[in-house]
Symmetry: C2
Subunit: 433 residues, 2 copies
Amino acid sequence: MSIRDIAVLARKASLKLAGISGEVKNKALRAINEALIDNQNAIITANKKDLKKAKEQNIGKPLLKRLKFDGLKIRTVCDGIDSLIELPDPLGKTLHALELDSGLELYKVSCPIGVIGVIFESRPDALVQISTLCLKSGNAVLLKGGREALETNRVLAQIISESSEQAGLPKGWLGLLETRSDVAEILDLDNYIDLIIPRGSNRFVKYIMNNTTIPVLGHSSGICHVYVDSAADLEIAVKIAVDSKCQYVAACNAMETLLVHKDVANEFLPKLIKSLKQWDVEVRGCKRTQTIIDCSPATEADWKTEYLDYILSIGIVDSVDEAIAHINRYGSGHTDSIVTNNKSTAEKFMNLVDSADVFLNCSTRFSDGYRYGLGAEVGISTNKIHARGPVGMEGLLSYKWKMLGSGQIVSDYSGSNGKKFTHKTLNRNFYLK
Amino acid sequence: MSIRDIAVLARKASLKLAGISGEVKNKALRAINEALIDNQNAIITANKKDLKKAKEQNIGKPLLKRLKFDGLKIRTVCDGIDSLIELPDPLGKTLHALELDSGLELYKVSCPIGVIGVIFESRPDALVQISTLCLKSGNAVLLKGGREALETNRVLAQIISESSEQAGLPKGWLGLLETRSDVAEILDLDNYIDLIIPRGSNRFVKYIMNNTTIPVLGHSSGICHVYVDSAADLEIAVKIAVDSKCQYVAACNAMETLLVHKDVANEFLPKLIKSLKQWDVEVRGCKRTQTIIDCSPATEADWKTEYLDYILSIGIVDSVDEAIAHINRYGSGHTDSIVTNNKSTAEKFMNLVDSADVFLNCSTRFSDGYRYGLGAEVGISTNKIHARGPVGMEGLLSYKWKMLGSGQIVSDYSGSNGKKFTHKTLNRNFYLK
């Protein structure tokens, strides 16, 4: 089948999925779970082929680690499916209910988005997590995985499709786009795909964003800041700065630039440097920073760079306003944290920093779907439309307006003698009498 | 100033607007209200210039009517501003609150989107409504109005800018893009504009959607259906069909295609035709329809056409499933209504028709922000991302995540001996102690 044929089938399936009950979806999730366990050996065999090829091509260790899909990882994704089964059905929830007139009732009700296109890195567990999240939220899904996981993805997609379709899901709700297929071709399918979630390198995500009219959920970079205010507890500031920078440097929510108020820079920076030493962090500082600690100069380019490495740029600012302006200018709208004990400074920072996540007195590294209690995370969004910050199942939902009438027509409500709307809030969920 | 300069200024203003209190915004709204009344004569004089030019150019009556901005219309927009002042501040609302651990609290809080770009028809009242809605929701706005309203828009924008800036709003929060400026240039400003709301003809909206990477809120067409089921009350069905088609044919929520179940077509269609007679509606029917009533044949193109006129295409279907399939294939995801007394048929239709608004036993013409009780309407969206259906102030809001800590770092919560998250729902609004 061509990419377009697979997408057409997914679109058709999505129209049916909207009417599938929570029970049938849970039955399908249980069937997937069992099928994954029953077919463990086939999965592991396929994964070994991928691993062998990857080793032959001298692919780096971190990627090999992500690519590996063994019994332990299979059990982990199955546990994830179990918790998904426990969650209440997110669909059909009444978000708003209003009587327009006696016998004329309006309900805003949650529903699936439709077809989600996911382009993901070479992590077979991502395939299972994303497709089961889409299933639970009633969405069809088109999956395009990394080329290195070809064999594993093929087996996993087949197992998930077959077992769930046998349990009652519409044919083709999950479509695997094989790696030969062109990403550009997917980006053209705006008639069939409602939302694209790209995962992977920043350059790749940016490419997707610039080359499709389909809405994209994601972030192209994470230039996160910690600002140490003049009213900061400096011991806490050191702890937070070190954790934000070093706890996992390759994460999008790691700090790249530290901003320090001039009044505390002399005391704070030497303390910080002492703590950073064990991590061997390269420090690049602004002119004033260079007069306090030993570091290389930070250039304009540094403020715009997501290092994802043991490198930190440091700037000294005169005020919280300067810190806010710096962050709004150079940041990527991801996660920024202030360390201060001054309430009004904190309030200003949290209101005026235009980022998805704004923190007080804690590490930027907390910006994450699991830590936010969202369950599985489909990604972190720096969009301001639809979903922002860490996105869980909610980001896979839309809503529709359902109106229940008994023959009402608009002409009766028009003109100066027209009937009036009551617009009375109803405290009940949508149901048909 | 160039378009880019105006946009840069609006972006800067938007970053300040996020910190402006509800009181100051209401003060600005009151100032606008007073200034509009005080400057009535200047507004009406400018509008007369526009009207004179339009008449010289033989512009049609409907447009002249929309373009006219007299004392009555000024009082109407001022009433609208008064009701906006009465509404609670939509910003800073806590949407979700969660304790992650003792002393570590996460809040999801409503905030403005940022800069809204509105491209609107030659209706001066739209300029006032949209800019005050943006103000109340804390957004900066770039306005591009129709060329016919040049003089009126210029005066209105100046009055609104000056009076609101004197009341404390940041300079440049409202930017008027004069009509000479190229729409294409606006569509390129993805670094400065967060959301575009185009109003106007379908062809124009479609052009916008296809030519920008900025998210677009709107609908390019409204191909709405009424389906008369075999279990319909036929008297009600006639009333609803006539209202949906004829009450205001030029509206996007008017019916374009009527689908009728085969079992009731013989009885229903002649009744309908009788009622449609007084409106002089041209009927185009499918083969089966042509055997029952006198009409011209409907072609494939008719099912895809938004007539916005006294023309109706009629199709006979064998089942509700065929009706649903027709609507999902040819409809535009706007508003579709079923007439039936069968509960499970209604349920199926409302779940499976993939449209923003799905109605039971009432006219499609109810799909409208005012009738939905949303107050002013910024548009109707057939997007499934962000906002769907009639969109009020809610569509101008985003949210940010605010986290309050007391020195927490992620490394304490990592590894097998890491602290556990409590993830306990908090029943309180965000505030700084």
